[in-house]
Each structure stands twice: as C-alpha cells, then as structure tokens.
C-alpha cells in the first residue's frame, strides 16, 4: 500500500502537467492555479502520509521498493524504472513536495495576471514530478530521467517570458551548461553500466563495496561529480545560475534555490559509498565546494540585483553542502540542504514580493526604505536573511552550518577556516542587502499589497527557516538528533563533535559579519552606488568565468562553424562537378566541326594503337 503511494506522488503533478498542457490556456487562470498547486499539495499530503507510516514502522531493510516496469533489457545490460524510499529520499520528498507546494501557492498570487499561467503551472508541476522521479529512483538511469527532466523544466521556466531575448539566452545557457555536466554524468553511467551491467544503485554500491578492483570508481566518481557540479552550479560549471534568475521568481525559489540545484548534493549523498571508496574524489568534492562558496560569496558581496545576490548566495550555500559531502559529513550536507531549501525559498519569495511591489525593479540601489511599506515581507526576508547568515540559536541555518563546520574541522582545519570565512562573507552580503533594500531612504514608492496567497507561504517558510533547525542540534546546546538518527541507516552515525570553541567561532563570525554590514551600509552611511573598482567588477561578473568560456570555447566554436556554414565537404563535391564539367567542355572543343581535325583524331588513334602493337 505504501509502495503504491510512491508512483502516486509522482503521478499527481504529472497528471496536472498533462492537463495543463493539453488545456493550452483555455482554462481560467484560477483553475490553472488550483490544478497546479492542488496537485502538488495532494502530493505533499500523500508524502506526509507516507512519511508518517514510514517513520512509524520502518521496514526491515529500511527501504521501500517499488519496481514499476522494465525499461531496457538487452544483452549485458538491463535497467528498470524503479522507485525506492529510504530515509534520504524521504527527506528529499518532503522538501520537494512541501516547499514545492508552498512555492506554488505563492506563485498563484505572484503569477495570477500572467496570460500564460497554464503553461507556467504546467512546467512547474512537471518539474515537481521530474524532481520526485529523481529523488525516488533506485536506478541511476531512471534517476537520469528526472535529472534531465528537471533540467528541461528549468529551461522552460527560465525562458518563461520568452519575448525577451535575454531570457531565452539565459535559459539556453542554463540548459547547455548543465548539459555539459549531464554528459559527464552520462559517461559515468556508461562506465558503471559497462562494469556492472546494471545501474541499480543498491547493486552498484554492493559491487563497489565488495569488489573495487574491477571497477573504476575514481573515474566514475569524477564523472558523476562533473554532473553534480553542473546541476548544483559549482565551479567550474557555475556560470549559468546567476543568469537563470531571468525566470519568474517562484521558479527561482523552487528550482534554483530549493530543489533542483541541490540534486547534485543528493546524487553524491546517494552514491556516497562510491565516493568514499575514492579519497581523491572526496577531496575534490570538498575543494569544489570550498572554492565555490568563497567565490560565490565574493560575487554576492558586490551584486546590485537582488535576485543575483540570492543566486550567488545559493551557489555559495551549495558549496557548503559540497564541502560537507567532501568532508564526509553526509548528514550535515542533507541537513543544510533542508534548511537551505526553507530559507532560500523564503528569501526568493520575499524578494519576489518586493520586486512585484516596486514595478519589477530588481536593483537594490533603486529600492531602499521598504520596511515600513511592507512589514510582512520585511520580516520574512529578515528571517530568511538571518537563517542564511546563520545567526546563532534562533535560526535553522545556524545549526546546519554549524554541523558543516564541525565536519569540515574533522576533515581538514583548512576547510573549516575557509568555510568560516565564507560564513563571515555570507552574513555581510545578505545583511547588506537587507539594509540597502529595507532601510534608509526610499527610492521607489511601492504600490499594491502582498496578497494572502503570497503571505501565507512566506509565513510558513519563515517559521520553518527559523524553527526548522531544531530537529538537529549540537550536543552542547541540546542533544537533538532527529535527522541524523533518521539518516543513520544510510550514513552511519555522525562523527563526534569537535571542541566547543568551534561552536563559539561559528556563532560569533556571522554576528561579526552583520556588524560589519551595519557599519558599511547602515542607513546613514550607505553608499548609493555599487563599488566600481576592478576587483568588484570582476567579482560582479562572476570572476570572469563567462568571459573566459566565451573567448576560449563558445566564440571560436561558433565563428568556425559560421565560416564553415556552407560545409567544406560540399565544396569537395562541387569540385568534382566542376572537373566533370571541364572534361565535358574539353570534349565539346574536340568536336570542332572541322573534318580535318576529326580525321586527325582518327589518325592519331590509329598511330597510338599501332605503336601499342609494336611495343606490347
């Protein structure tokens, strides 16, 4: 019975997507909203029901299996569309359906006057379905369906307002960059499938555990890391995420903050025995995370677009998760994934509410002093910002970040130091944003009001962003370990906690960050323009990765392609044709009409034949 719920949870949003696409805009906007949000809500309910029964009576194996059908079965390889529910996917399922439902609810308000709302909800529900497939799949290839499915939904939604070329280009870029990672991941899958003849995760991990000699886990792990890094916008494939903010804000909240971008984290966590078998890969994961979190935090410091700040922040936070993964702190990564889903979705939605009210302006320097005009939004944003900054005790972000710092310390103190630096920067940039947008002098007069459909999800998420962290606390504060307990069948018990000064450091650094931000951008002193020195410009453009790729890869590729537009091989066939025509002209010239010439040809032929005869 419970197993049947798994496909049902996926099916609800899928069906809704189907209905919405087929209706093709002939339904009233309200109906689209209801179907879209309602289906995900239903999924969330079912997920809750499933979670309840799962938690109440864990199966002997700790996993709920549901093989749907055999997908491909050929000589030497077979794969099934199969779902499985274990603690990890349980957590993900709850995040996806729960946060997803809230965001869709919010979107009902946010998008209510868009003429293409049916398409919007169609894509959104399709995304949720794909994400659930990704989460549930117990076979890497069916996981890949979800993996690419969320990618294409992301493409569709980033380019949702398609009349603007910039949006279309951003969407394309997002898809292509992630596709590069996907290709790497596919290579990894090919490698694994070749070695193991199956892509069933359990079977694969079993093989990894028993016979590492015949596998090439290092290569596979790196290839999969490539996929994960692209999907999760990690260095060096991170460039798409800031541009992806071109989509509607609920999209940014759902896809580019809460769920899809964390798929990489999920993948690595899901395959952690594979990575654990390859220490180099672990180091690489951690390093990727660290670099990303620092670079992205640096970029976020100087952005002027509120959504880009949040985008870089997302990259940075996922960098934390990667850091945790690389440090072997699996629970911490997942914990941060959950809390990040809460507070980042919240921040995006709050930002979206702000943007709606200030006539779709996104430049923070054109806002300012909005707190009195929109107290609800302000408080929600503040809650999210606090969680993001990891203000101690009160916020969910604090606990998850603390856990990561602990893990990093155990892995390598250098990682810890970097992470701490990142935390400091995080606090600065997000409170820079808070101070500039909500305090000080007002530059744009907000209009309208934030409706209930938007406010309620904001409130819910604000609560979650604050209180969501209490499910897992350091022993120093309170011995609550709900999450790691839940995940322990997968990841084993968490490592012991480090010295308590780590905790202090982790608590004080964000506070210091907030302080610095206050000094720099408090209402009186705040500069009204972004810093313009070279480093700032570099940081604002994402440290020049875009330019680099553009000059090294994209431009030469396209230029050469343009040069060869008419296909060199075609010239070859044209040359043959020209030769033939030349031969034809030659023979026509032979046909001069003069009988003496003709006789000459005959005589010449005869003489040649005679000579052939003489000297055979």
């Amino acid at each position: 019975m419970d197993a049947l719920l798994l496909p049902l949870i996926v099916f609800c949003p899928l069906l809704a997507a189907g209905i919405l696409f087929v209706s093709a805009g002939r339904m009233p906007a309200r109906a689209s909203c209801m179907i879209g949000a309602g289906s995900v809500g239903l999924s969330a309910l079912l997920a809750g029901r499933l979670a309840a029964s799962f938690l109440a009576a864990p199966l002997p194996a700790g996993t709920l299996h549901m093989a749907l059908w055999s997908w491909m079965r050929v000589e030497g390889f077979s794969t099934r569309i199969a779902f499985a529910l274990d603690p990890l996917s349980l957590v993900m399922m709850l995040v996806v359906t729960g946060v997803g439902f809230l965001i869709l609810l919010y979107a009902c308000g946010y998008m209510h006057d868009d003429p293409d709302i049916a398409r919007f909800f169609g894509c959104m529900t399709l995304f949720v379905a794909a994400m659930l497939v990704l989460v549930f799949s117990s076979d890497l290839l069916s996981l890949y369906i979800g993996w690419e499915g969320v990618g294409i939904c992301s493409y569709l939604l980033i380019g949702f307002w398609h009349t603007d070329t910039a949006n279309v280009v951003a969407a394309r870029k997002a898809f292509i960059v992630t596709r590069i990672g996907d290709a790497a991941m596919l290579c990894g899958l090919l490698l694994l499938a070749t070695q193991a003849s199956t892509l069933d995760i359990a079977a694969l991990l079993h093989i990894v555990a028993t016979g590492p000699a015949q596998l090439l886990p290092a290569t596979a792990a790196f290839l999969l890391l490539g996929g994960a890094a692209a999907k999760s916008a990690q260095v060096p494939l991170q460039t798409w995420l800031p541009d992806a903010m071109a989509g509607p804000t609920p999209v940014s909240a759902l896809i580019h903050a809460a769920t899809m971008v964390t798929a990489g984290v999920y993948l690595i966590a899901r395959l952690h025995p594979l990575f654990m078998a390859v220490p180099v890969a672990m180091k690489a994961v951690a390093l990727v995370g660290l670099i990303t979190l620092l670079l992205a935090a640096g970029s976020a410091l100087v952005q002027t677009d509120i959504k880009r700040i949040l985008a870089y922040s997302t990259m940075s936070q996922i960098g934390y998760m990667f850091l945790a993964l690389g440090s072997g702190a699996w629970q911490a990564a997942i914990f941060h994934l959950v809390t990040h889903a809460f507070f980042k979705a919240l921040l995006f939605m709050a930002a979206g509410a702000v943007i709606l009210r200030v006539h779709h302006r996104q430049d923070i320097y054109q806002m300012g002093g909005l707190a009195p005009a929109m107290p609800v939004v302000f408080s929600a944003f503040l809650a999210g910002a606090a969680a993001l900054a990891g203000l101690p005790l009160l916020t969910a972000g604090f606990y998850s970040k603390e856990m990561i710092l602990q893990g990093a310390w155990h892995a390598n103190p250098l990682l810890w130091a970097g992470a701490l630096l990142g935390a400091f920067a995080t606090a600065i940039y997000i409170f820079r944003c808070v101070f500039i947008v909500f305090l000080g002098t007002r530059h744009t007069e907000p209009t309208g009001r934030t409706g209930a459909t938007m406010a309620i999800p904001l409130a819910c998420l604000a609560i979650l962003a604050l209180a969501g962290g209490w499910m897992e606390m350091p022993d120093t504060i309170a011995p609550v370990h709900l999450l790691s307990h839940l995940l322990s069948p997968l990841f084993g018990t968490a490592t012991a906690e480090g010295p308590s000064w780590l905790l202090w450091a982790g608590s004080l650094v964000p506070l210091a960050g907030v302080g610095v931000a206050w000094l720099l951008w408090r209402p009186r002193t705040q500069a009204r323009t972004a810093p313009e020195d070279a480093i700032a410009r570099l940081a604002r453009t994402g440290w020049g990765f875009d330019t680099l790729y553009d000059t090294l890869l994209v431009r030469p590729f396209i230029t050469l392609g343009r040069l060869n537009q008419s296909d060199l091989c075609d010239r070859l066939s044209d040359a043959t044709a020209a030769t033939t025509r030349a031969g034809s002209r030659m023979l026509s010239r032979m046909q001069s009409g003069q009988v003496r010439r003709y006789a000459g040809w005959i005589a010449a032929g005869t003489v040649v034949a005679l000579c052939l005869g003489i000297r055979p």
Partner: protein, 500 residues
C-alpha cells in the same frame, strides 16, 4: 506468406488509383482520400502480418518466395524478421503524417504527387523485405526515382540542383553496391558453381579476408551515403532543404533508415569478420558524423538545413551502434532510427508548415513565433527537445544503448559521442530560440501581413500521436528492443512451398 508482396503492391496500386482518380479533374481531393485509404489499408495489412507472423519459430517471422529470373538464380524472395517488422511499422506510421499533413495542400497535380509518394513507400517496403540481393537492389534503386521527381516537381527554389545531387549520390553509391553484390555472387559461383542472389546462400560464401573487406566496403559506401556518414553527407542538407515537406519527412523519416537497415543486414551480418575489422574506422566516422553534423547544424540559418545537419549527427549514433559489434548496439541503433524517424519527421513537418506560412526558412527572418503560433511552436519545442535526447523520449534510449555498446569497445569514442549530446542541446535550443522565442521579427504579424494560421486540430492530432509514440518508445522501448535484433544470416528460413 502472400501478404509480404502485397505490402509492396498495395501502395503501388493505391498510388496508381490516386493518380487515375485525379485525371481530368483539377483541385479535387479525391486522390488524397485514395492515398489515405491506401495507407490505412497498409496499416491494417501490416497489423494482419504482425498478428499472423510465425512467432516463436525462430527469428524469421514470415516468408515469401517465387522464382523471378531463374536463369540467374534470382528469385522474388522476401523474408521478414523483427528488424524488418519494426522498420515497416515505422514506414507505415510515418506515412500518415506525410499524407495527412503535408500532402493535403499540395498545389498542382495532387494525383501525381500521391502516386510518387506511395511509390516511394512501396519501394521502401520492398527494401525492408527483400532477401534476394538483386530484388533488394531493384527496390533500392526503385525508391529513388519517385523521390527524385517529388523533389523536382514540388521542391523549393533550388530544387534542380538538390534533386540531381540526391540522385547522383545515392545512385552512384548504389552502383558501387551493385558491383559488390555481383562480386559476391560471382565469388560464390566460383566456389560452388551455383549462381544465386539468395541472401542466405550467399552468406555462406567462403571469402578471403581482403576480398570480404573490399566487398563489404562496396556495400558500406552505398549505405553510408544513404545514412549518411560524414563526409558522404553532402547531398542531404541540400535535398532536405529543397524537398517538399512530405518529401523531407519521407527522406528523413524513412529513406535514411534504409541505410541503417542495410548496414545491419548487409554489412554487419553478411560480412561479420570484415565489419569487425572495419569497426574502428566506422566508429570514428560515426563520431565524426555526430560532432560534425552538430557543429554545422549550429551554424545554419536555414531551419531545414539545421534539421538536416542534426540528422547527420543523430545518425552517427546509428553507425556507432551497428559497428559496436554487440547486439546491444544493434538494438540501440534500431531504436535510434525509429526515434529519429519520428522526431525529425515531425520537425520537418513543422519546418515545412512554417515555410508555408512565412514563405521563408531563414531563421533570421523568424523569431517570436510563439505568440502568433502557440500550438505550432509548442509542438516544435517538444520535438526539438526530443531530438536533443531527453531521457524519456525514444532518442535517449537509442543514444544511450549505442553509447553503452560503444563504451565497451572504445571509451574515448563513446566520450566523444556523448559530447555530441551537448552539441545537440546547443543546436536544438538555438533553433527553438531563434524561431519560436524572442521578440517577434519585424517583418511578421504587422497590419499588412495577417498573422499566419496556427496548427488546427488535424495537425495537432497527428503530431500528438507522434509525440505519444515517441514518449512510449522512450519509456517502454522493450517491444522494439526485443524485435530489433536482426535475424542472423545463417538461420535459413524454410520458404513455404518452394523447396521441399
């Protein structure tokens, strides 16, 4: 089973009927109705064949044989295995969009148009069934002529060049194949004293490795031109671009598949050793095709040209699969062919419709069509996504299996092939972005030019069914996979009634 030749005669007769029904009366849609009835009957016939096939009696499902030119050991012999069946179904299914969508509004001489269309289909059916090498070659050539005329008569501005290029390339390479076929026949005669064109008998010809390689190359070139394989692809972009929509669909959807079919049946199975030795080169060619096609596809401004180059890229996977030397690769190649037939066929329908509406294929003069043509654009988007190999669509299954099979042979080739997937995303989305999305192009939708008509229910129904098929193939490809392994050339079937 008499139904096999019926599968060839039915479209031929139907075509003639359509032609005759059109005599004298202009602008009558009678011939269209005849054509649609014919392909419906063909579908029913194929269904009948599928149901009455000898399932469970070995890989060959149906047989037909009757002497044709006994003096030269030529028989009208047809045998059907799973591979043939899959290809026949693809042909039958794709002829529906051809006839329903693109042939409906053909301007002049609709009767002749339908005759040629159905004649081509008859020839293709013959190619997929013939197991006598002479008969095979006969059909192979026969399907070109009506296609040539189709392009010539109903093509676009540069049709003369395109049509003749198409014909010269395919026919010329066909002659090489003819020489190879006859070489095989003669060698068999030298070895056994028997002149025969029978596929199963010739498969047992003892051959020197070098000879086998030369003969195999003769076959390979013909099929490589048809498939097409870089650098023999140059006819394809021109032809696809200039052909009328139905022609493009037929070309891309089915005609190219005869190349893949031939590679499987007459290269990989007839000369297994030589094919195995040639495999590294073929794999390299396949990868070159994938990358080169994708690269040039990206550089095109002409929408049909873009799709044509994307075909080159997609069919590189077929080559990879066939020459990976494993059943898995073959199955993957077949799935890829079917999926490519559906998706690219549909894309050509869309490109053709766009040309009908906008009178241009130049994407520089398109843009923002979604607002004017939401249905058309969304369908176009769907098939573009399918063609970039999204899991869950048929193309992915094909590409994955071929790549997996290739990886076993040569991981670097597989990696390069995977890179093609990235490029396919690039050109597909570029096409979507330039044509359908973005701001509307200045030239269209103004007061002077009325907005073009969107797809109506007829088009949407057919294309939706195509989409459904593609999704079905992507999520449940097992029936095709099971069928698609070609029957070995040595398992000689017992033709009914001919030999005791």
């Amino acid at each position: 089973m008499i139904a096999l030749p019926a599968l060839i005669l039915l479209p031929a007769t139907g075509g003639l009927t359509a032609w005759l029904s059109d005599r004298g009366r202009q602008a009558s849609s009678l011939s269209w109705w005849v054509a649609i009835t014919t392909i419906l009957l063909q579908a029913l016939l194929l269904l009948f064949i599928t149901c009455t096939a000898e399932w469970g009696h070995g890989p060959w499902l149906a047989h037909f044989s009757t002497p044709w030119i006994p003096a030269l050991g030529i028989a009208a012999r047809m045998d059907m295995d799973g591979l043939s069946l899959v290809m026949l179904w693809l042909t039958t299914l794709l002829s529906f969009p051809c006839v329903i969508l693109s042939a409906r509004d053909v301007g002049e001489q609709p009767g002749l148009f339908h005759l040629l269309l159905l004649a081509t289909i008859a020839g293709i059916n013959g190619v997929f069934l013939a197991t006598d090498l002479f008969l095979f070659f006969f059909f192979w050539e026969l399907m070109l002529v009506p296609m040539y005329v189709l392009i010539l008569q109903w093509g676009h501005e540069d049709r003369r060049r395109a049509a003749i290029k198409f014909f010269l390339f395919t026919q010329g390479s066909g002659l090489l194949m003819l020489v190879a076929i006859l070489g095989l026949v003669i060698l068999h005669q030298h070895a056994t004293g028997i002149v025969t064109f029978d596929y199963f008998v010739l498969a047992d010809t003892p051959l020197m490795p070098t000879t086998a390689m030369v003969l195999m190359l003769g076959f390979f070139v013909a099929f490589a031109v048809k498939l097409p394989v870089v650098p023999l692809h140059v006819w394809l972009p021109d032809t696809h671009t200039q052909a009328p929509t139905a022609g493009s669909v037929l070309l891309a959807g089915i005609l190219l598949k005869t190349g893949g079919y031939g590679l499987i049946r007459f290269v990989a199975l007839l000369f297994p050793e030589a094919a195995a030795r040639f495999a590294p080169v073929a794999l390299a060619l396949g990868v070159a095709g994938i990358l080169y096609g994708a690269w040039l596809s990206l550089a095109q401004d002409d929408m049909k040209r873009l799709i044509a180059y994307s075909s080159v890229s997609h069919l590189g996977f077929v080559l990879l699969g066939i020459f990976s030397g494993s059943p898995m690769g073959m199955r993957g190649a077949v799935v890829q062919m079917v999926a490519h037939g559906l998706s690219t066929g549909a894309l050509f329908v869309i490109a053709g419709s766009l040309q009908d509406r906008l009178h241009t294929r130049d994407m520089r003069r398109m843009g923002g069509l979604w607002q004017a043509l939401p249905h058309l654009s969304s369908v176009g988007l769907f098939f573009a996504i399918a063609s970039l190999g999204l899991p869950g669509m048929g193309n992915f299954v094909g590409e994955f299996l071929t790549l997996l099979a290739t990886w076993r042979v040569s991981p670097p080739m597989a990696i390069l092939g995977t890179a093609g997937l990235v490029l396919s995303a690039v050109y597909s989305l570029t096409m979507v972005g330039r044509a359908f999305l973005g701001p509307p192009h200045a030239g269209q939708g103004t007061i002077h030019t009325p907005p073009p008509a969107d797809f109506g229910p007829r088009q949407m129904t057919v294309l939706s069914l195509t989409m459904a098929l593609l999704l079905l193939l992507g999520t449940y490809p097992q029936p095709v996979l099971d069928l698609s392994l070609p029957a070995p050339a040595h398992a000689t079937p017992q033709p009914e009634g001919l030999h005791p």
